[in-house]
């Protein structure tokens, strides 16, 4: 049967139209909105955003969170992935358990850790049983910014390591066993084998895992609200507050543009730093 030339275009048309309407158009609108203010076009929204009391704290918290959470997740996922490779019995069960958080939303993850870390929660009960503290203690209020931050880190690592694991395991499965065996024949220790064989071959998967996780980590929001209320300002949370509470769409859009610029920059950095040669792309 001859393929009509228009057929593939007909098939992708709905998706293209949809993405144009709900991705490209809002993208352009957000940018336009961020430069628009009462008196016309200008950077008034941006000066207002930068001048805001929470701005610097939000930037600092967001970046600190990303540079703490993402490396922990990648290291943990790499460890889990190599553990799975060695596993002979019960691999499916362990894999299922480790991927459960994949289905958990960030809001739910925050609430889960709230159950653990709240004043009369399980962490404090455990400390009490060990004789470390005598009564309930707060870890999650504004007076304890460090423990609040660590609580958010715990929730994020708990929830989103699973996605890194899935991407890396999928990548590990593509690496032919012979390479590792060859390295062993030549006397490489497990660590050397991991560093010189596994890691370089895993680069494409690492790259996509890093891009995905970093973009999503800059978007972090509901976890923070669930664990610490509004005690820990965060970029997306500020955008939400400006939009919902202050009804100021311009400043909210300025925050959105800032977040998107950061995400895009992070993606480009990863693409450059972990350049994947075409022949490595399967």
């Amino acid at each position: 049967m001859n393929t009509p030339r228009f057929l593939p275009y007909l098939l992708i048309a709905p998706a293209v139209v949809f993405l144009a309407a709900f991705f490209l158009l809002p993208l352009a609108q957000t940018i336009a909105l961020s430069f628009e203010s009462g008196s016309g076009f200008g950077i008034a929204n941006y000066t207002r955003m930068v001048g805001d009391l929470n701005f610097t704290t939000a930037i600092r918290n967001t970046f600190l969170l990303v540079i703490t959470v993402v490396p922990i997740q990648v290291a943990l996922a790499l460890m889990m992935g190599t553990m799975l490779q060695k596993m002979s019995r019960g691999r499916d069960l362990v894999l299922w358990i480790w991927t459960i958080p994949l289905g958990v939303s960030d809001l739910a993850a925050g609430l889960v850790w709230l159950a653990v870390l709240q004043d009369s929660g399980y962490l404090n009960s455990a400390f009490h049983a060990l004789g470390l503290i005598d009564g309930p203690r707060s870890w999650l209020n504004a007076e304890a910014p460090i423990t609040l931050f660590l609580g958010v880190v715990a929730a994020e690592v708990w929830r989103a390591t699973a996605i890194v694991l899935v991407i890396l395991v999928a990548g590990l499965q593509l690496i032919p066993r012979e390479y590792g065996e060859a390295a062993e024949v030549f006397g490489a220790s497990p660590w050397v084998k991991f560093r010189k064989v596994t890691l370089p071959l895993l680069k494409p998967s690492l790259q996509s895992a890093l891009i995905l996780r970093t973009v999503l980590a800059f978007e972090v929001f509901a976890v923070v609200y669930a664990v610490g209320g509004r005690n820990m300002p965060i970029l997306v949370g500020e955008a939400y507050t400006w939009q919902r509470d202050n009804q100021n769409y311009g400043v909210a859009a300025a925050y959105a543009v800032l977040i998107m610029t950061i995400s895009l920059a992070a993606t480009i950095i990863y693409l450059k730093a972990l350049r994947v040669r075409p022949e490595q792309q399967s």
């Binding site: 993405l19 991927t99 958990v104 978007e219 955008a239 895009l264």
Partner: protein, 268 residues
């Protein structure tokens, strides 16, 4: 030496399993423990005072059912839209070589570099104007933008895995293109399509930001929980968290076989 290494390895695996499972168990205790359970000090790890009644009390709060229903509708529509729009695109990518193919792939991949949910911000104004604001349909449209790129890439690999010859044989025997697709390709691709659809469902069910920005009264469950966070008692918050977790964990269990195939491919 060898047995020591083995012991460390097994301990590591068990501890990582506990790291995932114990917090879920604890939030379940909170959800079923009720008011007294949450403020009990010190807590015990055993479900001594857990009761169904405490969780039912949460479900009876005004708005919870409605929110859960809205979440179901939005997630169902997202599932439908992202497969209906994504699968044809995936089929085109798998079966046809056409000009602009790379541009389309780029568009799909580009969505990944942006925090898409944030793009709900400017849509508020538009949605108010056309009457989509504060409806599950409006929310599902934004969620489809999140799920569609994923659905297109997954279905593309799914269709690419079905031999072209099978389809061509059906054409030879007099099937039209559409018939061949329906009778040959769809049955073979069905399990994978279902897995991709379930993933779209979970993406929507779990999304917080866009849903909160685009609704006021007809909130989805995530949006409802986010807005009542500061004013609701702790045990209700924990019950809400538990209610959010249950369906998505069940879904992940159903699609676990496809997880790696999907992600391995979606990342090429």
């Amino acid at each position: 030496m060898k047995s020591l290494r083995r012991a460390t390895y097994v301990t590591g695996v068990v501890m990582l399993c506990a790291w995932v499972l114990v917090p879920i168990y604890l939030v379940a205790l909170g959800a079923f423990g009720g008011r007294l359970g949450v403020f009990k000090w010190p807590k015990t790890i055993l479900p001594t005072d857990a009761s169904i009644a405490a969780f039912m009390a949460f479900l009876r709060i005004e708005g919870v059912w409605n929110a859960a229903l809205n979440s179901l509708i939005a997630a169902g529509l997202t599932m439908l839209f992202s497969i209906a729009l994504g699968a044809p695109a995936g089929y085109a990518l798998a079966r046809h070589n056409f000009r602009g193919q790379d541009a389309f792939r780029l568009l799909v991949l580009l969505t990944r570099a942006f925090p898409l949910a944030i793009l709900a911000l400017p849509l508020t104004v538009l949605f108010i104007r056309v009457g989509l604001y504060d409806t599950p349909l409006g929310v599902s449209l934004v969620h489809t933008a999140l799920a569609l790129p994923f659905a297109a890439l997954v279905t593309a690999s799914l269709f690419a895995g079905i031999p072209r010859e099978l389809e061509e044989a059906a054409w030879v025997f007099g099937c039209s293109r559409l018939q061949a697709f329906r009778k040959i390709v769809v049955p073979l691709a069905l399990p994978g399509l279902v897995a991709a659809a379930i993933f779209a469902f979970v993406i929507s069910w779990n999304e917080v930001f866009a849903a909160s920005v685009l609704t006021v009264r007809e909130r989805t469950l995530t949006a409802y929980l986010l807005t009542v966070l500061s004013e609701s008692p702790l045990h209700f918050r924990l019950a809400g968290g538990f209610l959010l977790i249950v369906p998505s964990v069940a879904f992940i269990f159903v699609v676990r076989k496809y997880l790696f195939a999907m992600w391995g491919i979606a990342n090429r």
